[in-house]
Symmetry: C2
């Protein structure tokens, strides 16, 4: 929260605040004919494209903790998490609507900070802010976002197209955002009531993954350049295990992934060690990664392996074989939504 | 809240609940290629149409009170209020996304009731449910909605096109939803802690306007049939005064409306009398009407006057003349966002 200057929201009122926050916002995409400021935005999509639509809802105390989450970062993060849904359809995000329910705890300067983050995210990904609502909240902050995007006609990628022998790929690395969260939670407890600043040196990367994640735009662009059409794709929001289950369930398939191939940053590993956590469990189940999980035909092996930040972690198998992780010592463990247990076979 | 049977949401979990609630939902609009169940919905809009996009956020304790608001009605109402934004652009709603943040107070049966209301609203207005998110809430229920719609290319109506001499029209009648709310609040206080049922006989209409409002689809259709193209339009959400101000501000104009022409239902008037409230103030400032306020060229006078449920309440004037209500006894009162005061002139 902003501590330098506090202007109560009541000073501007709902409409005044919306106007203030959205001042100077001008659409930059040709699809956005009319942005904020009316009952609805007016968009125009061309006949050769499909339109994508996704929505998210973030609640204080559940999805974020304002005691350590700077509002500017929060604005950036919710926008990124939302764009991620469009990239996960093999699309390009175009317009974002963002609504806030604000408690008395927050002042105008806080909402400005939040909006700065949203605007920066939109600028970096060339997305237009196309609508904003503000209402009051009796308790915590609630944030709702909706994003539209486009994909060439028929080119959007669902969760349901994975086929046997397809390669399973994941971008970046996993578990880092979760470790960043654990660190923030630990320091919150350790510094509560004291005027001391937590020491985060050597842990910047995992903090950034939690506080300022980046959606994987460049991977989608590289896949297009290489003419690779994923057979299924999903955004890694609730952890790798959970997302693999969605893909396998909706595709009617099973999977094998290799423990040794799961990409993990060394800061993630060090932090897990410090907290006495199993780093693989964290990578499988830690949320908020906003990486992309996708499958490609085995024929694309060489092409996909050459793309920076893409890791082949396993392959799609017959549904009857179930979902499993193969550990470093060759043991097959069944994947569960939370954690994993040794196969009975 | 459902009192017959309570199944905790934890029993199904987030994904199970989303699946349960959206089971059997199949898109009926040709524009909806893929509805719920993936990272994003896939839509296709045709080149001859513009796409409209609007979003809303509803918070328990601020926008609704669950002690007297049945969840099925709430689902219906939030959907209607959202559709209303598309009608207010002269468009047709096509897809709705709806997200809930649910506190422990609510059970699966409650969310089912809520969804029944949403589904009924969607069925009545031929809108597809195209996305759903569920998250937890520490305290009250939060509901976020987004609607997309279409309008023939270039035919959407903004708030900014009102011109001098245009007629100001409003649909249905005003203040009824606000009076329904006052009644519910009064009975809530009166019956609190007692096992008695409030008596609402003779007040069904104002209750329905509060609990189960209807968006003005038919007026939009009639305007099209009559080939009337409104110069500006807005949904009456925060009261007539407030919406007139938006139109006049964005159009750079002023207005004159006549007290005697403001449409008021007799139940609204009776209730205002009972509560010792000025019924015109209620009609000007009561929220939640979900009627349409629009302006048409004076040349369309006869055609618009003949449309059922449309009332001509005044006309657009030069900006310098300001915004005013002309009372029954001919006095000009300046319109304010909340209430109105006598002109100094």
């Amino acid at each position: 929260m902003n501590t330098d200057k506090r202007t109560e929201i009541a000073k501007l009122g709902k409409f005044g605040l919306i106007e203030h926050l959205t001042q100077g916002i001008a659409p930059s995409n040709k699809e956005t004919l009319l942005g904020v400021g009316d009952d609805a935005a007016v968009l125009h999509f061309n006949d050769g494209e499909d339109t994508l639509l996704a929505t998210k809802l973030f609640m204080e105390g559940i999805n974020f903790d304002l005691t350590y989450f700077p509002l500017e970062h929060l604005g950036y993060k919710v926008a990124m998490a939302t764009f991620s849904s469009i990239y996960a359809m093999n699309g390009t995000p175009k317009q974002l609507t963002i609504s806030l329910a604000v408690s008395k705890k927050l002042c105008i300067e806080d909402t400005e900070d939040f909006y700065e983050g949203v605007k920066l995210a939109c600028k970096n990904h060339n997305v237009d802010i196309a609508g904003t609502e503000i209402t009051a909240s009796l308790t915590g902050l609630a944030i709702s976002t909706t994003v539209t995007g486009t994909a060439p006609k028929g080119a959007s990628v669902k969760r349901s197209g994975a086929k046997e022998t397809d390669l399973i790929c994941v971008t970046g690395n996993l578990g880092a955002a979760y470790m960043g969260l654990q660190l923030l939670e630990r320091e919150k407890i350790a510094t509560e009531g004291y005027e001391i600043q937590p020491d985060f040196s050597g842990k910047e990367y995992i903090l950034e993954r939690q506080l300022k994640p980046e959606a994987r735009k460049e991977v989608i662009e590289r896949l297009r350049e290489e003419n690779i059409h994923p057979t299924s794709m999903i955004s890694v929001t609730d952890g790798l295990s959970s997302e693999l289950m969605h893909i396998c369930k909706q595709s009617g398939s099973g999977c094998r992934i290799y423990e040794e191939r799961i990409p993990i940053d060394y800061q993630t590993a060090v932090m897990a060690e410090e907290l006495n956590l199993n780093v693989i469990t964290c990578a499988l189940n830690g949320g908020d990664d906003h990486e992309l999980l996708f499958t490609v035909p085995i024929a694309d092996h060489e092409k996909v392996a050459a793309i920076k930040n893409v890791h082949i972690i396993g392959y799609v198998v017959n549904k009857d074989m179930g979902l499993a992780l193969i550990t470093r010592d060759g043991v097959e463990m069944e994947l569960k939504a939370q954690g994993w247990v040794q196969n009975n076979k």
